[in-house]
Symmetry: C2
Subunit: 377 residues, 2 copies
Amino acid sequence: MKDKTKKTSGPARLLIGDADTCVDIEYASGFHAVDPIVFFLHGRRRVLVVPDMEATRAQREAHRCVVYTPRALGVQRNQLRSTSSWAAALLAREKMARVSVAPTFPLATARALERKGVRVDVVDPLFPDRAIKTADEIRNIAGAQRAAVEAMRAATEMIRRAKIAGDRRLMLDRKPLTSERVRACIDETLIRLRCICELTIVAGGRQSADPHERGSGPLRAQDPIVIDIFPRHLDHGYWGDITRTLVKGAPSAELTKMYRAVKRAQHEALQRLKPGVVASGIHAGVVKRFVDLGFATGVIDGKHVGFFHGTGHGVGMEIHEAPNLGLRPTRLRAGQVVTVEPGLYYPDIGGVRIEDTVAVTPTGWKYLATCEKGMLI
Amino acid sequence: MKDKTKKTSGPARLLIGDADTCVDIEYASGFHAVDPIVFFLHGRRRVLVVPDMEATRAQREAHRCVVYTPRALGVQRNQLRSTSSWAAALLAREKMARVSVAPTFPLATARALERKGVRVDVVDPLFPDRAIKTADEIRNIAGAQRAAVEAMRAATEMIRRAKIAGDRRLMLDRKPLTSERVRACIDETLIRLRCICELTIVAGGRQSADPHERGSGPLRAQDPIVIDIFPRHLDHGYWGDITRTLVKGAPSAELTKMYRAVKRAQHEALQRLKPGVVASGIHAGVVKRFVDLGFATGVIDGKHVGFFHGTGHGVGMEIHEAPNLGLRPTRLRAGQVVTVEPGLYYPDIGGVRIEDTVAVTPTGWKYLATCEKGMLI
């Protein structure tokens, strides 16, 4: 993975973590850290501190970085597994008495550095440019998104082929069609395309009223089936994200009305996307559309109903990253990649969500991959 | 997933993060957090603060926890996306002026709490019992390990079926057998078993001299092929970990000697495993065995050679967790699950590593799954 930071000025930045806990390290160094490491960036100087066993790989993958091992920095033997000690030794070597860190910087390390007289400033976000994707990054996200679409089509085809039994259960190849079977088909399609999705959602009926419920058991005709696929591409680590809601057989008038409202809200939100637009305004538009169409949001019998999540989120090296299309009044910029995913959820009926991942372009937006939006199959 | 904490006394503990960045939350609450959340544990009281859209799922999955949304805690609208504000509101509600946190607790939140007069103590580890697995947890790890063994066998079979071309390249079905093809076979086997491995290693020849190099391109006869499979089970999130080193065709005398040394070192390390034994002693035994057999460790031409990683690591809800079989003099305890994975690496020859994941039992240890250890195929 290439280093994508362009700026070389500003205060020294210090990062600690592995590839999962501190995505900025891979973003800014190009190195995928299996175990926690230390990364330091000041002007043009980029330094990685990695365990002995990672030194050769780090030199090869992060070719713009100086690579140290803790031993080379003089870290004492009994401190060799303490990344706080690595950071302290590195800052002493760099003669650096002040560093900027992310809000999630580990508290114990900050305190260890402060005890040595280092001033630790929290900066949020530490890499604001990460929200603006390069052409290569957009290509990577589009690759993951195309895999998501292919998996969605495979899932749709399974449901299309199913027959409806007397009790409304869907049957395929003489066995009940379950959330688990559809999910297995999705996951196998994804892995063939070098992608994985850990928490694929295939939630039918009332289960779908809970936006993050993964779903289990037999699927039924006339019920909404929410399928949410958000794969990460194994070759480069970028994510895609798509949701469709399907119904086999004739849905109720209520469910049809919900579906139309969600589809319309998504269409309107997409039409508003362009650089300079305030993210919270797009979200407010969706909220208002639902209210205007008679879909109330609130808490009933202790359960959240209506539309109670954000309209979308940034997608990139993390599945949820900046910018958020919710309550914050940030302005969109060209090069950002976001989902647009309004939804409506009522425990007695189930849920409807339609989600696409799109790039903000200089003049508007574009799909990173297209996929049919019909509910009936 | 069940809540596995048994102790109910001690200081109040505060955790912030999602399922990837703060594994302790799922361990202690049973709730798998897709986005960052707040978890508080004091005596028998367990509280989760989750976004609106997660409230219903949290109530269902974390049935021993009280579940709040930020709104219910009175968090102001412009702070609804700030987990620091959630934590501050929760501690005010709980009338708690002092909390214990993990070393990786986010610095920005700690400072926000300190500004409100809360004392924040770092405790390492915050959940020491997590290293001692329950019978259910060992069953989960064994499930992931069996999947890893099945994938290893599928990969071995591919290499076994390959023919050797004139330039030592392995050929299968008239096409070169590459790291990528073997990895695809492994990954597809895993996903059928509801497991994923993001960074499966299939590294041949000189590539294998770098322990975390994933490997690419054609595989060759007489070269070592290091295959390291560490899957996570999608149903419960526990990991397995196995490595084998294979050679197609006759290896050099040097490579054979390396293989025997690694196999012997692993055997001896396993024989030493039992409760009460000092982890660093096991590691020192492996280091000494290699030295006695003439395999030097050090830095040659800027490259680490010999045996330059730990002998093993704990496995559970994380692929690398406590206890570490390395430099630290911690004593092993029954119920711990560890890898035992000595290796030797020389740039001109390549690498040899043999790894199994085993449970420490009251009287010794046991494999969580068994797999052949022959090098020649």
